[in-house]
């Protein structure tokens, strides 16, 4: 009995079950011996028993009707065969098994085995899954066969396995998020954050509207700004209920989007080539460096002269700022790639184009996205300057005209809106970057950062 348990413990499906079940299985298994050349069973017979090979060698040939990747296989001590006896539905032998040596086997009744496994609440299911695994991995059979092993769960194995998993995964991410949110709520952080906001807003409210300190009393107060911002009938013509407000926001976003896309489309390839080709860099980079120290905003009058209309100069300025940031960061990204990667690729026979596509571009990606984040930031920065100096519509224009026309609360509305929209766009770039660079996120998570 001990020996039988020891043997069962060594097999793939039974190594997981509880000692109690193992004892029960040992109880229902019978030792049998066969001599060389004996056929234990052949394909097409009905399958009643599962076998465990205790000693000797067997030849196992699966019928060609079943789509196995490899049909013939020799079995050694510890191997489990005859698993068709625990299939759901029709139990028919799928293989011919004959002895190449005198063998000793354990014969286990399939129906009784299933019963025992069903009773083992903790490990029965794991044993069933090990059977499917055994069928697909050691006998090279397709999942359609492997999934015929039933599950102890209520649903049949074929449907329970696949749709079940994503659901479980989703539940775990959801619970993880909930857990983190719970932790955050329990930590002092949110309350301290509220204190910070209260300090900022409170000092604004008190200095401007309550104490009316000198200099501060000229500024628009907190309540004035908030009532103006949410008023259905704003005193100065701009609130969340007026269509002009959204028109200004939309114009600004459109300008930034055009400039950003243009800068990315031109800046990323330029940066890649600058980093990739030495000759190209030696010719182009000096001119680039010559123009770069000139502050973007110093281009304003020149932009107005060069481009007609009020729309193009503003877009040009915004583009210029983004372009420099994107191109420079992309170039740095290419330079940051470990020399041995390109060398390895060349050694493995990659040509220049393949190295560019498979090593340079993915290698530079983290820096490119850093560059794009900076680029969105500077785009808003120079957009505001461009809109304040020239241009019609847009949030910078709102801020400037509100000043000249003494609509002070509207200035603050413009500033806050700019902050919100600017933050939202850089968050979008960050999320897109993280999504496209899952490998890097994982790397960083593994590094414990």
């Amino acid at each position: 009995m001990e020996q039988v348990e020891q043997l069962l413990k060594r097999t793939l499906p039974f190594q997981v079950v509880s000692p109690e079940t193992l004892g029960n299985i040992a109880g229902i298994s019978q030792r049998e011996t066969f001599s060389e050349g004996d056929v234990i069973y052949s394909a097409g017979q009905s399958a009643n028993d599962v076998y465990v090979l205790a000693s000797g060698r067997l030849h196992h040939a699966i019928t060609p009707q079943v789509n196995a990747k490899i049909h013939e296989k020799s079995l050694n001590a510890g191997d489990v065969f005859g698993w068709a006896a625990i299939f759901e539905g029709e139990r028919i032998r799928l293989a011919d098994v004959s002895c190449t040596e005198p063998v000793e086997v354990l014969r286990i009744d399939g129906t009784k085995l299933l019963d025992l496994l069903r009773r083992d609440r903790n490990f029965g299911d794991a044993a069933m899954r090990s059977f499917s695994q055994l069928i697909s991995q050691q006998y090279y059979l397709p999942p359609s066969v492997a999934n015929r092993v039933p599950s102890t769960l209520a649903a049949p194995a074929t449907t329970a396995e696949e749709p079940g998993e994503p659901a479980a995964q989703m539940a775990s991410t959801w619970t993880l998020t909930m857990y983190r949110a719970g932790e955050w709520i329990r930590s002092p952080d949110p309350y301290l954050m509220m204190i910070g906001f209260m300090l900022l807003l409170g000092s604004w409210y008190l200095t401007v509207e309550v104490f009316k300190l000198p200099r501060f009393e000229d500024l628009p107060g907190l309540t004035t700004v908030v009532t103006e911002w949410f008023a259905t009938d704003p005193m100065y013509g701009l609130s969340i209920h007026t269509s002009e407000y959204y028109q200004h926001v939309w114009v600004s976003i459109r300008r930034v989007a055009i400039a950003f896309l243009l800068a990315t489309a031109l800046g990323v390839p330029l940066g890649l080539f600058l980093g990739w080709s030495r000759t190209f860099r030696e010719y182009v980079f000096p001119v680039f460096e010559l123009l770069r120290p000139i502050p973007i905003l110093a281009w304003v009058p020149l932009a107005i002269i060069m481009f007609t209309g009020s729309e193009t100069p503003v877009i040009f300025l915004t583009f210029l700022a983004s372009f420099f940031a994107t191109a420079l960061n992309t170039m740095l990204g290419v330079e940051s790639i470990d020399e041995s990667y390109t060398r390895a690729a060349y050694c493995l026979g990659a040509n220049r184009w393949q190295v560019f596509r498979e090593v340079i571009i993915p290698g530079a990606m983290p820096y490119v996205f850093t560059g794009l984040q900076i680029s969105v930031g500077v785009a808003w920065f120079s957009l505001v300057a461009g809109e304040m100096v020239s241009g019609q519509y847009g949030l910078g224009y709102v801020i400037n005209t509100s000043y000249t026309m003494v609509r002070y609360p509207t200035i603050i509305i413009g500033m806050v809106t700019l902050g919100i929209v600017g933050y939202a766009t850089s968050a979008m770039v960050r999320v897109a970057g993280n999504y496209m660079m899952q490998w890097r996120l994982r790397e960083m998570a593994l590094g414990g950062r």
């Binding site: 002092p188 952080d189 301290l192 954050m193 204190i195 910070g196 906001f197 300090l199 900022l200 200099r215 501060f216 000229d218 500024l219 000759t279 030696e282 010719y283 182009v284 980079f285 000096p286 001119v287 010559l290 120290p293 000139i294 502050p295 973007i296 905003l297 110093a298 281009w299 304003v300 009058p301 020149l302 107005i304 002269i305 060069m306 481009f307 808003w380 920065f381 957009l383 505001v384 300057a385 304040m388 100096v389 949030l395 910078g396 801020i399 400037n400 509100s402 000043y403 002070y408 200035i411 603050i412 413009g414 500033m415 806050v416 700019l418 902050g419 919100i420 600017g422 933050y423 850089s426």
Partner: protein, 277 residues
Amino acid sequence: MAMNRITKIKRSIFSRSSLRAIIAIIVFLVLWECGSRSKEWLGHSLPWIGLVPPPSAVVLVWMDLLGDSGYWESWYLSTMRVMSGFVAAMIIGIPLGLMMAVSRTFNSITFPTFEILRPIPPLAWVPVAIIFWPTEELSIAFVTFLGAFFTVVINVLGGAKAIDMRFYQSAQAMGSSQWDIFRRVVLPATIPSIVVGSSVGMGITWNVVVAAEMISGGGGGTSGTGGGLGFFIWNSYVGGSYEQIVVGMISIGIAGYASSELLRGIGGFFTPWLKTR
């Protein structure tokens, strides 16, 4: 040793890459000249570039301006504004960043507020600054301060956050006090990022000062060329002397580049351990 250095310099001047750089810049200037003079030479002006004054004319105008006291006054005024805003940002920003890095509670209170204010571009503050500060000079300095402030704080904080946990732990294990940890671990580890933050901040301050001068209309200038380089550019635009615009742009480029290099040099002096190569 001296010979060696001279040959090294010679080699770097006459190397292939510097030759190519010179060729590239000459080609760029020639293209610019041709583009600008396309109206005279080809009969019709090329788009965009045809409206920009040619480099030769810019150089001539610049030569005249070198003797103009207003031009130098602009240099002086802009530099002073940048310096005052920048120094204020360093004085307030570095301790604030360090405090946020050292104290968790302080960080939790201030960081979210800081992050709410940060996305607002510094130039959007110009009108509010003009309303609030009694003189125009102070309002320009304030906006310049804002430009550098956020960058400095973020860099200091980032530098302190990147410190390896084991440094703290080993310092604590060896019995250092809070002050020792700050003095021997946090401070030296953040100096490189303070240097980076300040040179980036310097770039932003030049940007902001130009725009602030343009928007607020200079002030304090005695002539059309005085009042700050940003005002100089704007005034040249209004006055229609386009060559002067380019002169102003190049001047600001030089000023910004020189001050960033200066900062990098000073930073190198404070971080001698980074000079490994």
